[in-house]
């Protein structure tokens, strides 16, 4: 056991002392800091981002003139100019556009807007919304419906989603949940691949440099494999914790430096506070660790079966397939239906659970599903480690042979 500790130490310190590791520790939180700053700036100054837009309204119907109301950065001006004259003006001023409303505005594709640049999406949406409102009010008035009634009918609906939990109703924010779920899934997917292939490269390095025979004349192949897997895993955890700490500090600094208007910040904080970060973090670490142990054992077996990194392709594909498959499903479909049968099954099968479960966690997962998934994860990594160790112990001493899957299965059944 003492020897496994020595191996863990070596694997850990040779990686942690690398310049690239230290740089990564600072680069990622720095990126997060920059991103937070940019998002905050955009949120605070969104109305200053675009310049004031002036819309000349050429109304031939007589319904709309004077009824537009100015919003943030859009100003409406009624005009009696001809279309050609208005277009000339627009050519000279980028922030000017001409809205031509024909008498028969109700027909399809009747209303046009002219501008030098392609009109912004927000601008067209705003105009369409206002025109629809005005047209509806106009129609109602024509049919002798009281304006007071019209105003009372008008509504501005946005949905509040509320979870029913044992502890009482809980306000939740779907967008935030989806965001956190997807972020965790992406993060776990990338981490499993990065640290898994680090294990694989380590195995290949020992094999190609031929030090393997020296080492396994001192320790059992299984001890070496285990030591390497644990060592690299600890590097991963170190990186996570460093990132979390630095990111928290970074966002704090960013928040203070911006002295953000209380409204915006409060809004963000109240959204974030609906997300159970401790719970998610704990499960993230669990699924990272068990998923990592499961996959890195397979990666180690792949590394032992080849002579160089270029030969890994044929084995890498089936190993990474379930991960990639779940990842793509997760970020495209699963987040829309986190409690569908597909999502539930994927989050229980060990090969796919680390990614699929991350998507589901923010939405709440029934206790029995979580318990089943977690126990299967543990059984799963014990199983893959056992299988991988049997292939590994033979593979590390094989050179110059092109290995096939048939060969691998033979290795599995070799005696000591």
């Amino acid at each position: 056991m003492n020897k496994v500790l020595l191996i863990i130490q070596r694997e850990y310190f040779t990686r942690v002392r690398k310049k690239s590791f230290i740089i990564m520790i600072f680069v990622v939180p720095a990126l997060i800091l920059v991103m937070t700053l940019v998002i905050a700036l955009v949120a605070m100054n969104s109305n200053q981002l675009t310049e004031q837009q002036i819309v000349k309204v050429l109304d031939e119907s007589g319904v709309f003139a004077g009824k537009f109301h100015d919003v943030k950065n859009i100003k409406f001006e009624s005009s009696t100019q001809s279309l050609t004259a208005a277009k000339e003006d627009c050519k000279k001023n980028e922030n000017l556009s001409a809205l031509q409303i024909p008498a028969e505005y109700n027909k399809k594709d009747a209303v046009n807007i002219y501008a030098k640049k392609k009109p912004e999406f927000a601008l067209t949406i705003e105009i369409e919304k206002q025109m629809n409102d005005i047209a509806i009010s106009n129609g109602m008035l024509k049919n002798h419906i009281d304006t007071a009634v019209v105003h009372s009918i008008k509504s501005d609906i946005s949905l509040n989603s509320i979870e029913i939990t044992d502890a009482g109703d809980k306000k939740s924010n779907i967008v935030a949940n989806i965001g956190v779920g997807i972020a965790c899934a992406i993060f776990i997917y990338i981490s499993l691949l990065i640290y898994g292939s680090q294990v694989m490269r380590g195995v290949i390095e020992e094999k190609t440099s031929r030090i393997i025979e020296v080492i396994i004349s001192s320790v059992k192949p299984f001890q070496l494999m285990l030591g390497k897997i644990i060592g690299v895993g600890l590097v991963g955890l170190t990186q996570f914790f460093a990132w979390i700490i630095l990111s928290v500090i970074a966002t704090k600094i960013a928040g203070a430096a911006l002295s953000a208007p209380k409204g915006t910040m409060l809004n963000i904080i109240s959204v974030l506070s609906t997300i159970p970060f401790g719970h998610i973090m704990g499960l993230f670490i669990f699924y990272f660790l068990t998923g990592y142990l499961l996959y890195s054992a397979l990666f180690a077996a792949v590394g032992s079966a080849v002579d160089s990194e270029t030969e890994t392709q044929q084995f890498m594909f089936p190993v990474t397939m379930p991960l990639l498959f779940t990842y793509i499903l997760s970020v495209s479909i699963l987040f829309q239906a986190p409690n569908s049968a597909l999502a539930v099954w994927l989050s229980i099968i060990p090969l796919t659970a680390p990614v699929a479960m991350m998507i589901r966690i923010p939405f709440g997962v029934p206790g029995w599903q979580l318990a089943l998934s977690m126990s299967l994860m543990i059984l799963g990594f014990l199983f893959t480690t056992y299988v991988a160790a049997r292939i590994y112990r033979v593979g590390i001493l094989m050179y110059g042979k092109k290995t096939s899957f048939k060969e691998l299965s033979k290795w599995f059944f070799y005696k000591e």
Binding site: K3, L6, I7, R10, T14, E205, E206, S209, R210, I211, I212, E213, V214, I215, I216, S217, S218, V219, K220, L397, K410, K415, E416
Partner: protein
Amino acid sequence: MLSIRNIVKQYAGHRALSDVSLEVESGKIFGLLGPNGAGKTSLIRIITQITAPDSGEIYFNGQKLDQSHIDKMGYLPEERGLYKKMEIGEQMIYLARLKGLSRDEAIRRLKIWFQKLGMETWWKMKIEELSKGMQQKAQFVATVLHEPDLLILDEPFTGFDPVNAEIIKDEILELNRKGATILFSTHRMESVEELCHSIALLDKSKKILDGSIRDIKNTYRNNVYLIEYEGEKVNFNGSAPFELIEENKDEENRHTIRIKLNVGATSNDVLQYLIPKTRINMLQEVIPTMNEIFIEKVNQIA
């Protein structure tokens, strides 16, 4: 020291060792000889417990071989290798600690070895910065640092230039004098004759010969002598106590003959026969080399 009994190892396509038994005496230098593919490395991997035999047993100092003996062995594999990007000093300490040395003890011994072999400046260097010969030297130190009772060296001199090979040879002999048992493996049979006390010859997974070098050579000496004389060519007749095998003459009128003694005759009889006839420069018994013995033995079996 090491008692190897009836080892059988079968690989998927071929048999690597069939019923090999050997005794390696404590404190001796033992040569494991044989052509490539004879099973030497397979046997060594079983001794170092990298693989296990299909059947048969190995005893180390009378105890059945197990994990506890690993720290008592030092193994230099035929294919040398170290971590390319790790500093030499750190790497040596790591390997020594895997063999059970404490960090401090490893450093203390490393300093002595580095000084002895002129490697003091290498401590902070990486393996990839060293020449092949230097890497070999570093690997040798790593193999012997924990002062193993049994030192297993697979083709130890390949990769060394003659000067360093000599240095390493002296170090091996000194370790042996200090009590280490040494097990050599090589396919260059002539290279270990001068070093080994005993040998075993492997061929095609079988042991075909073993014993002390002296005994083997005594068994295989065949009363052949090489004689050089000067002057007129001597004509041998039936009264000579030997049979002429080969006769050569160089420009300076020196004759070299190869003879085989008649049964019961000695080298003294030869001299007595020749002295009245010519001037003798040299008489030397021709002892077969291990290589010749090997070839003879293989032919016998076939």
